[in-house]
Subunit: 356 residues, 2 copies
């Protein structure tokens, strides 16, 4: 047998440095492995372990520098103590703020968070979702999925086994647990603020017609203007392309009776308009008031500082985790269809002023 073994040098280097196991502790503390398990998981309340033994095990664990093996544990218990956060690129502020909230809330629990990136391209997303499934995550938070196919993909893969929370999903959805901002209310608050300032001609420039956050925001816009008996015809859809966004502004300002206030579908758009209006020789806020939506960190430092509607992404991320944990506690909760609404907040800075 050992006469002609191929001399591969993988004899010991191939094996990963094997860490300390419960068996090692058991040997040192002169107890059985399950005893170690009971002690280290603090199940001695219900099982009963002599104090002396307990301390001996603890001491042995400390001495050997033992770290629990969450993987092995997960195999047996069927719970990986891992949550998945599926979203687009991490350097988009909306999703990173939500993610920050997720980490906030996950901290202090035993859950770790795995980050997966969605692409809105169904074949790549399919792989990501499978990858996620193979990890046996206990719960899933999905943020920022524009594509209906991804939604369906995720649903098919995980429902009803794995609880899912939809964080600010882009469209309406008649199933699952959803955490959403009160976009309608947020926008109508913004309109009311402008109306109070005496504005009569108010425009709203949104993203893609009929899709995403624009829909409820336009609804809020129209609702508030109707309530104030004002013209709600100044809605423009732009597809988020910078040229089209700029074109929309130029078109509005070239109107015989141009708007005295412009609401933007996003903060990014509002920042662009601040610059663009300056280029047009308009003073914000004295000639035109501008408001954004979202309250990105940077809009507090624009010039003028942007008035906007704060969407509490961070808190929403926290809530998503809370919901998930509740569903893990009580599987019955997973079956319910729930929508949790988060209030937005009017943030008034210097880009809004009384109508000229």
């Amino acid at each position: 047998m050992s006469t002609s073994s191929p001399s591969t040098p993988n004899a010991d280097s191939n094996k990963r440095a094997d860490s300390v196991t419960m068996s090692d502790i058991a040997r040192l503390a002169k107890v059985s492995r399950p005893t170690v398990s009971i002690v280290l998981n603090e199940r001695h309340e219900s099982i009963g372990i002599a104090e002396g033994t307990r301390l001996r095990v603890l001491e042995a664990a400390r001495e050997l520098g033992y770290r629990r093996n969450a993987l092995a544990r997960a195999v047996k218990t069927g719970r990986s103590l891992t949550l998945a956060f599926l979203a687009g690129d991490p350097d988009i502020e909306y999703s990173s703020r939500a993610f920050s909230g997720v980490l906030d809330e996950a901290e202090g629990t035993d859950y770790a968070v795995q980050r997966f990136r969605l692409h809105d391209k169904s074949d790549e997303d399919c792989k990501v979702v499978q990858h996620c499934a193979e990890r046996r995550v206990d719960g899933i938070i999905v943020n920022d999925t524009g594509l209906a196919t991804a939604t369906e993909l995720i649903r098919r893969e995980f429902e009803p086994q794995v609880p899912i929370v939809w964080l600010d999903p882009k469209g309406p959805q008649d199933w699952g647990v959803q955490v959403r901002p009160r976009d309608i209310k947020g926008m109508s608050d913004a309109v009311e603020h402008l109306v109070e300032l005496g504005h009569q001609r108010i425009a709203f420039v949104a993203g893609i017609e009929g899709v995403g956050t624009g829909v409820p925001r336009v609804k809020g816009f129209r609702r508030a203007l109707e309530a104030a008996n004002l013209d709600d015809s100044l809605v423009r859809w732009t597809h988020w392309e910078e040229e089209k966004i700029t074109a929309a502004l130029h078109e509005l300002m070239a109107l015989p009776e141009p708007p005295t206030a412009i609401l933007c579908g996003s903060d990014a758009m509002a920042l662009l308009y601040l610059r663009e209006l300056r280029a047009l020789g308009k003073n914000v806020p004295h000639d035109v008031s501008v408001m954004g939506f979202g309250d990105l960190a940077r809009v507090a430092h624009s010039d003028p500082a942007l008035s906007t509607v704060r969407v509490p992404y961070n808190e929403m991320g926290r809530e998503a985790v809370r919901q998930l944990l509740a569903m893990l506690e009580d599987p019955e909760m997973s079956r319910e269809h729930r929508e949790i609404w988060f209030p937005t907040e009017l943030v008034l800075r210097n880009s809004t002023a009384p109508a000229p």
Copy 2:
């Protein structure tokens, strides 16, 4: 094939997550469990499985909707196929850009990424690091650790078992694999640019003296000014507090011979100065040139658009993963002390102009 009955193979959900296992496939395909393992892991090249058997297993797996259990696999193989990314808050753009690169590069491999948050508070970080250790991650990327204690904590926990890559560590470090930007070169490039524009009085406002990124950047600043035979005395340290940053600007501009160009330790500071200089009635860039450092996404849209030094965080994140994977391939590499330097790039926009 497509006429398979929609019969659910496992009993009603009395048990929590009873997913399909290899045993189920083995039963259906009438082979043993190891055979299934060989087929599904595509080890048939070296083991040898008849094509008919292989297809039968594959078909059975498809029919049952099998998903590999990465956890169980990890327990046996000792590799979790998971990387950890330790950093501060995810909504800091620097770290989220690096994280984006990490995800870019991890995609397409079998590795998933777990995100842990560091706090620069040693007791909380200690818990995080332990948590991370329990997950048996295969490799670790650490970004943005200001505190030396965290560095030491991580080192003690994981070295030399688990390969670590330090992504833009804040201080010098004589061990481990480090991925760093060429701060010195970046700053001296910036100075050279200003010198070419005819500036003679150039100031640099940095963060905390002797700590972090300010150190190499000041070095680059001094080096370039010396080379140009210019005064390098206009260095100010501010501790990153907004009032102190502003105070530094006022102090500089009140000088008998105020600087005609100001280099900032960060983009955020530069944006603040843009606003502050406008308030002082100065025109940027005609009266004063301003440059940032980092190239945050938003500085392209400031007014004027900020000239800055791009730090390729995304690419650095990618490199960190590549380094980690290389170390996992060849454990010998983990022992080396390596520094990988990434070139910065001068990004010239509209906040710099010839000296008045």
